[in-house]
């Protein structure tokens, strides 16, 4: 008998009197001690499936028109709340995507882990404390003993995710549901977390249901894989079989969705568009009553970079390494020290009025297409704004024509320009952000993780679009990303940053083929092979 057996499960949401079928007739099973990956793009219903196992959906807004979920011989659909509480966090645990918001910021981590122990196992405080320490050591939280009383905000993202895992393991569950456990953390941390989960599974013999959109993870981690799209399970089978020989079209499409293409070798003869030498962005640390400056956080410390026409400089590094700060400083959106030359003109120290005409030629595209578009403006208004600021296009009709052209350029239907951002999917929104930058015909664009929040297939499309635009308009890109696969597909030159310092800098081909520093090597291993390299070069 399987540990978890889902038969013909349906999940329907009632929204505004309409019915939305999130999951349709899904059947799957998880055996004891097995790792099963549930793969699909956003909106495919994979998270909903996971939540319905624990019956955590917002009932009665959501309901199951049919189907059953049998866990260890017991029906969970419609089980009484009291019974479900005994199962949740005890026999089935779950870890969520966002380690930043999954921990209660008002309790120390000891208190939060103790809670599960005293609730389900009835341990005394001293016993619970001992067990908590054991667990934190089990998940390899560095310096666990002194971290017991730490607050969530004192831990990094990876450390928080470790604490979440410790909480999930507290009662030695039979099944661990991991809902995109590494989407919000760096590649290096991702490799560490996945390795940890693999080790724990071997030692504790639990089953893992891993929900993810990242196929690289699935390949190196799961035994069996289930592929979902639009609420339907389209394919399942052993991982190797599915990867080698996918039978369903959707799976094939998903597998083919890696960002492809190789950039041209870097060309030092192209005219430089944007350059800086020895740039510093230091944030003062103030202490005491008089707020005296006692030191500096060196977000960017002595970075020199030149972005040339038609070329892309990739900036890679872990979170907190100063990638975004560098981009924002180049655009003079935050203050910095050191010369910034744009198109042969020194723009450091230029007043904002004098800078405004130049803003037209330097643009930015941000990471999260959900937050980078104002929710209360229509797509036309969003794209039009730059035109208004810079006085391009005299009449409204002329501007509408220009906006339509920009939308067409990013393959969006101009007929949709009066709609609001929430009516578009993530990929379409990112196209709108790109159109907003491109409508001004810039020469230099900072791309701040433009693909990180998107699904795999969409990522590949956006990368293609960016490359096409670059070739057509001879754009200079500063491409910031922690995703080395995307950087490899686009960048001519690469800068590797760590804690604001340049670790390595040079032509992309050289850095990807022959990384010199341990840090770069660890980044590569984590990104391409999902391996954690324990040389101490990357953060824990």
């Amino acid at each position: 008998m399987s540990l978890l057996e889902i038969r013909d499960l349906g999940v329907t949401f009632r929204v505004d009197g309409r019915e939305i079928e999130a999951v349709r007739g899904l059947s799957m099973h998880v055996e004891k001690g097995e790792t099963v990956a549930l793969v699909g793009e956003s909106g495919s219903g994979k998270s909903v499936t996971a939540l319905s196992v624990l019956q955590l959906l917002p009932y009665p807004m959501a309901y199951h028109p049919h189907g059953s979920i049998i866990f260890d011989g017991e029906e969970l659909v419609g089980a009484p709340e009291r019974r479900l509480r005994e199962v949740r966090g005890n026999r089935i645990s779950m870890i969520f995507q966002e380690p930043m918001t999954s921990l209660n910021p008002l309790h120390s981590i000891e208190k939060q882990i103790n809670e599960t122990l005293t609730l389900h196992k009835g341990l005394t405080r001293a016993q619970a404390r001992r067990r908590t320490l054991e667990l934190l050591e089990l998940v390899r939280l560095p310096d666990a003993k002194n971290r017991l009383t730490a607050w969530p905000h004192q831990l990094s993202g990876g450390q928080r995710q470790r604490v979440m895992i410790a909480m999930a393991l507290a009662n030695e569950p039979d099944l661990l549901i991991a809902d995109e456990p590494t989407t919000a953390v760096d590649v290096t941390i991702q490799a560490q977390i996945l390795q940890l989960l693999g080790d724990l599974q071997r030692d504790l013999g639990m089953a893992i249901l891993l929900i993810t959109h990242d196929l690289t993870i699935v390949r190196s981690f799961a035994k069996r894989v289930c592929v979902m799209t639009q609420g339907i399970l389209v394919e399942d089978g052993p991982t190797e079989r599915v990867f080698e020989n996918p039978s369903h079209d959707y799976t094939k499409k998903l597998l083919a969705a890696e960002p492809k293409g190789v950039p041209t070798p870097s060309d030092p003869s192209a005219p430089p568009v944007m350059s800086t030498k020895d740039m510093k962005v230091w944030f003062p640390i103030r202490r005491g009553l008089l707020r005296r400056t006692v030191g500096h956080i060196k977000a960017v410390d002595g970075v020199s970079v030149t972005v040339r026409e038609g070329q892309t400089v990739g900036v890679v590094g872990e979170s907190g390494s100063g990638k975004t700060t560098l981009g924002m400083a180049l655009l003079r959106l935050i203050s910095s020290e050191g010369p910034i030359q744009f198109d042969g003109r020194e723009i450091q120290g230029l007043r904002s009025g004098a800078l405004r005409p130049l803003r037209r030629e330097m643009q930015a595209v941000f990471q999260d297409p959900f937050s980078s578009l104002s929710p209360r403006l229509s797509v036309f208004q969003i794209v039009e704004e730059g035109l208004l600021v810079h006085g391009i296009g005299g009449t409204r009709d002329e501007r509408r024509a220009i906006v339509a052209e920009a939308l067409e350029e990013v393959s969006l239907d101009p007929a949709t320009m009066d709609r609001y951002p929430h009516e578009f999917s993530g990929g379409q929104r990112q196209r709108v952000s790109i159109a907003r930058a491109m409508v001004l015909k810039p020469r230099f664009v900072v791309l701040d993780e433009p693909t990180s929040a998107l699904d795999m297939t969409v990522q590949a499309q956006i990368v293609d679009l960016l490359r096409e635009l670059q070739q057509r308009h001879k754009l200079a890109y500063l491409f910031i990303s922690h995703d080395l696969r995307v950087v490899r597909a686009l960048a001519n030159d690469v800068i590797v940053l760590k804690d604001g310092h340049v670790m390595e800098q040079g032509p992309a081909a050289k850095i990807f083929d022959n990384p010199e520093t341990d840090y770069t090597k660890a980044l590569m291993a984590a990104a391409f092979k999902i391996e954690a390299v324990e040389t101490g070069a990357v953060s824990m």
């Binding site: 949401f13 505004d16 956003s42 005409p357 930015a364 929710p375 403006l377 704004e385 009516e423």
Partner: protein, 363 residues
């Protein structure tokens, strides 16, 4: 979770764009309107309040001591709109005709007719034909009785209600504008601006409003606009906190950074990008601020530091009720009108709050 609940974008695109009174509106606005309507109590309160308020606007045509239309010797006169001398009807004085005077009535009715408004008293008309000491109890003549100066309570109520609501609306409008502007500047620029402004507000809100009003009332005679200005000095702080918090939150949003990168000026960003996001919490507050403003004027009038003597006002009526306990219709009338008006405003406020509640948008 977002994944499962969000309808497929194509499904959303396929539907016709929602409209309200013929204007295209966003789907979100449509949902908010629906949520507002779903709160039956608030929805009906809004209609009742609007009916009462709009009904009280033409008070001069409902309660007046001048007739609406006079026909005299084939000529039509409109005394509500224009003052006519008594001589126009064949009288003796050059002054404006007193249509309640029996002599004038006789003159007109001898050769024409008069059309009176439903309540033939204005708020300051003294009824000399009471036949008993004022305050007089309700009768067919004075529907809600008269006050202690023999003025018709129903007429005073109508005018008093109108001035209360108008005062509340104007005060709410101006204090919102100042409050939003102050909160926006503080939240958006932060740092020293915020720090200094916040301390200023702390000190300013500590000033005793009532004493200042008493002192000023002895220097100038407070009329509607004086009172409004004085109240405004202290009432704008209500919204500052909310708007400031919204601006503090929103100024780090990606779309604000994107606007900066486009070269949009600070004012442009505040107005186009941040303000619409702050409007939700502001609008939620407005009905409650309106209720508060109405109460403030009433309490000032009750204490005698409000509108000039003789003005129709709910607070003054309450005060008369307190001074004339033997005439319970005064106190009861003022109490019921105030209670109904404030309850309606609070119910509307609750419905607005429901409409903007993000948790209810899906329920």
């Amino acid at each position: 979770m977002r994944n499962g609940e969000e309808p497929a974008p194509n499904a959303a695109l396929a539907e016709p764009a929602p409209r309200f009174l013929g204007w295209p509106i966003s789907r979100l606005t449509r949902r908010r309107l629906d949520n507002f309507k779903r709160n039956r109590r608030g929805f009906w309160s809004l209609w009742i309040f609007l009916a009462l308020f709009l009904g009280s606007l033409p008070a001069e045509f409902i309660a007046n001591d001048n007739p609406l239309v006079v026909s005299h010797k084939g000529t039509l006169f409109f005394p509500v709109l224009k003052a006519y001398p008594e001589t126009a009807f064949g009288g003796e004085f050059e002054t404006e005709a007193d249509y309640r005077d029996r002599f004038v009535v006789k003159l007109i009715e001898a050769d024409g007719w008069m059309l009176w408004p439903p309540i033939p008293y204005s708020y300051r008309t003294i009824n000399y034909n009471l036949g008993r000491p004022a305050p007089a109890p309700p009768s067919a003549d004075n529907w809600l009785g008269t006050d202690d100066q023999a003025r018709d309570v129903s007429a005073r109520l109508l005018y008093g209600f109108r001035i209360s609501v108008l005062f509340g609306l104007v005060l709410t409008f101006f204090s919102s504008i100042i409050g939003i502007a102050a909160g926006a500047v503080q939240g958006f620029f932060g740092g020293w601006v915020d720090l200094i402004f916040q301390r200023f507000i702390e000190i300013w809100s500590g000033l005793p409003t009532l004493y200042l009003l008493i002192i000023l009332a002895s220097v100038v005679e407070p009329n509607f606009w004086w009172l409004l200005g004085l109240m405004l000095l202290f009432s704008w702080m209500g919204l500052v906190g909310v708007v400031r918090a919204e601006f503090l939150r929103a100024r780090n949003f990606d779309f604000v950074r994107a606007a900066r990168a486009l070269g949009v000026s600070d004012i442009g960003i505040m107005y186009r990008h941040v303000l619409p996001n702050a409007m939700v919490s502001t609008l939620t507050f407005l009905p409650f601020i309106l209720a508060g403003s109405v109460t403030v004027l009433t309490s000032l009038d009750f204490l005698g530091f409000g509108l000039p003597p003789g003005s129709p006002s709910l607070g003054e009526l309450l005060n008369q009720g307190k001074n004339n306990l033997q005439a319970p219709w005064l106190g009861f009338t003022a109490f019921i009108v105030l209670a109904v008006m404030l309850s309606l405003l609070v119910f509307i406020g609750e419905a607005v709050r429901d409409a903007f509640d993000p948790r209810k948008t899906l329920a």
